[in-house]
């Protein structure tokens, strides 16, 4: 009987954490022992997570590929699947299909300075790369993390931001939109492009990973350009609507690429060849 491409692995929910008023993170472990043992993925890859009876949804795997005993993903409460996900608790069973997509070229980034720029709920796809880099610290130069959200409460993995800043040659710049700060807020206030400009991050021998709503990317690119970062060193992860994740259902086709197979990680240079259809 040929392998059923669409049948997920059953996963046990180990832990559910509330990150923000409408974002939760979930830790999963494969119920099937050997599958758990020989499962591997590259940071930046995504998977199709099943809530049986509601459907599947596409989320990045936001745990580092070096952590073997669980995988983690984050979701915001917006639609049918995420509404049901909001109710799950420890011990429930979910499904997982993957890993899919090309993931970040961590090998190519070795020896480079890493600039991670995330907006809103973009931290999960960045977090996995940060932890991977920190666990292979010697391979990478300076790490700068610029992360912003609408309000302080909307910052996902806020506790880890502190932890990261304790590592040497790691600089964490947090910001919230004007009016989103709390009285004791010590981070920056402003939109990410402006905060990035003020941060004067050195750009030589650096790569940047920019993830967030299209509007944020649109205004961040010129800043990176002014910093002197060439387009082939600026990466992003596209968030098309997806269903199969394996280049069959046609949903994520944008211009010449199937985002689920040829992406989701692209350089800005590659994005130039993709018409504005994503």
């Amino acid at each position: 009987m040929k392998k059923n491409l669409y049948k997920p692995d059953l996963m046990e929910v180990l832990d559910v954490q509330r990150q923000t008023p409408d974002v939760k993170s979930v830790r999963l472990r494969f119920r099937d022992g050997d599958r758990a043992r020989d499962f591997s993925f590259r940071v930046g890859q995504f998977g199709q997570f099943s809530v049986f009876g509601s459907g599947e949804a596409t989320f990045n795997i936001c745990s580092s590929s070096t952590w073997k005993d669980y995988i983690e993903f984050c979701f915001r409460r917006t639609g049918r699947v995420t509404e049901t996900l909001w109710q799950i608790e420890k011990g429930d069973t979910l499904g997982f299909r993957g890993p899919y997509g090309n993931g970040y070229p961590m090998e190519e980034w070795e020896g480079r300075n890493l600039i991670f720029i995330g907006g809103g709920i973009a931290m999960p796809p960045i977090r996995c790369a940060v932890w991977y880099a920190l666990e292979n610290r010697a391979k990478y130069g300076d790490i700068t993390i610029v992360y912003g959200a609408r309000t302080v409460a909307d910052l996902t993995y806020a506790d880890e931001l502190d932890e990261w800043s304790k590592h040497e040659r790691v600089r964490v710049i947090r910001c919230v939109d004007p009016g989103g700060e709390t009285p004791d807020w010590k981070g920056e206030i402003g939109l990410i492009p402006a905060v990035l400009e003020r941060a004067q991050v050195p750009a030589e021998n650096a790569i940047a990973l920019v993830i967030g709503p299209p509007i944020m990317i649109k205004f961040t690119l010129p800043v990176l350009d002014r910093m002197g970062l060439p387009e082939e060193d600026i990466y992003t992860s596209l968030e098309n609507r997806m269903k199969c994740g394996v280049g069959k259902c046609g949903r994520c086709n944008a211009g010449p690429v199937y985002v689920c197979k040829d992406g989701p990680v692209f350089t800005m240079k590659q994005l130039r060849s993709i018409p504005n259809d994503f």
Partner: protein, 347 residues
């Protein structure tokens, strides 16, 4: 040339196959429409080399609805179960060559890296016997894509209508020959006298390579914008098209369990690309029509080397506003020709 087979003998063969429990599909007259359907009896099959059914044979390889696995919910536990594998052999007879030609095109996407076992299993256990065309209408454009009324690609055997109810069978694959033991000639035999196309095959209406070159350079300012304004955004063109293969995956069932199912879907529907955030990269209908053209005539050829279209004309014939792709392709081809005369587009 092999001995001619009367249509009555073909119906006996079909009755035999049905008797053996095989699923046999053929064009069937349903009211005023000719539609491919699974045959209840051999008498229903219509052998008409001059008319094109309104739907396509993709239904028997990539059905409109298909459970892909079952799940049972028991408290916190979930039990998954494969859908019972079907070994039932299928035979599609009197298929149009432009339907059969779609199969090798679809094989690319369904086997690209990951193999869709549902499609490949059906493909393996289905034999396609096509019927060479003897007439076309002005929606047909198979010749513009290098295909034609006697294109054998995708077919396991081909019938040629010799007139007054007599047919000649040509085996193309060993599977096809097995259906007509010692009665089938070989493909490439000189066609019988009355095999000549009644009218000429449809003349070539556009050059796919030039259209692809033009599309690659003109994403933003297409000449066909006014044409596609008339599109109402239904799924007729995609669902009656032999090569359209996009699908949706949803769960269906109740609190006790159910099935995850694969359903046909179309890039013409807004939900196809609607993001959870509410952003829709293709918010208006002309953008979706553009996607259908780009995917078929630029993206698929570049990725898999073959145009995602066989020129059957179903999209134009069935379209409630008579749009389809041919009219738009001709508008593009004219524009591209005009530009070529001025300064040739680099390849």
């Amino acid at each position: 040339m092999s001995a001619a087979i009367p249509v009555a003998a073909l119906r006996e063969l079909i009755a035999g196959w049905i008797g053996q429990g095989k699923l046999v599909a053929a064009p069937v007259q349903v009211g005023d429409r000719l539609l491919y359907q699974a045959l209840a009896s051999a008498q229903d099959a219509v052998f008409d080399a001059r008319r094109r059914p309104a739907n396509s044979i993709k239904e028997f390889f990539f059905p409109r609805h298909e459970p892909i696995f079952r799940y049972r919910i028991e408290g916190k536990e979930i039990a998954l179960a494969e859908v019972a594998p079907q070994e039932r052999e299928q035979i599609v007879i009197a298929s149009k060559p432009c339907d059969a030609a779609a199969l090798p095109i679809l094989d690319h996407v369904f086997n690209w890296d990951f193999e869709d076992s549902f499609y490949t299993a059906r493909r393996a256990r289905t034999t396609v016997v096509s019927l060479a065309c003897q007439a076309h209408d002005d929606a047909c454009f198979c010749t513009s894509l290098g295909s034609g009324p006697e294109d054998e690609s995708g077919s396991d055997a081909m019938l040629h209508d010799l007139g007054d109810g007599q047919f000649e069978v040509r085996a193309i694959t060993e599977k096809g020959g097995a259906l007509f033991p010692d009665r089938a000639g070989k493909s490439g035999d000189t066609p019988g006298p009355s095999c000549r196309m009644a009218g000429s095959p449809p003349n070539e209406q556009f050059d796919p390579a030039r259209v692809a070159r033009y599309l690659a350079a003109n994403f933003e300012s297409p000449p066909w914008k006014d044409l596609t304004l008339a599109c109402l955004g239904c799924g007729v063109c995609a669902y009656t098209c032999p090569t359209c293969h996009c699908f949706d995956i949803v769960d269906e069932g109740n609190a006790a369990g159910g099935a995850r199912v694969k359903n046909w879907d179309s890039c013409q529907f807004p939900l196809f690309t609607l993001h959870a955030s509410g952003h829709n990269p293709r918010a208006v209908q002309p953008q979706r029509q553009r996607q259908r053209l780009f995917h078929k005539f630029l993206i698929y050829p570049r990725k898999f080397g073959t145009v995602l279209c066989t020129g059957c004309g179903n999209c134009e014939r069935n379209c409630p506003v008579g749009l389809g792709v041919l009219k738009v392709l001709q508008a593009i081809d004219d524009e591209a020709k005009r530009l070529d005369e001025k300064e040739p587009l680099q390849a």
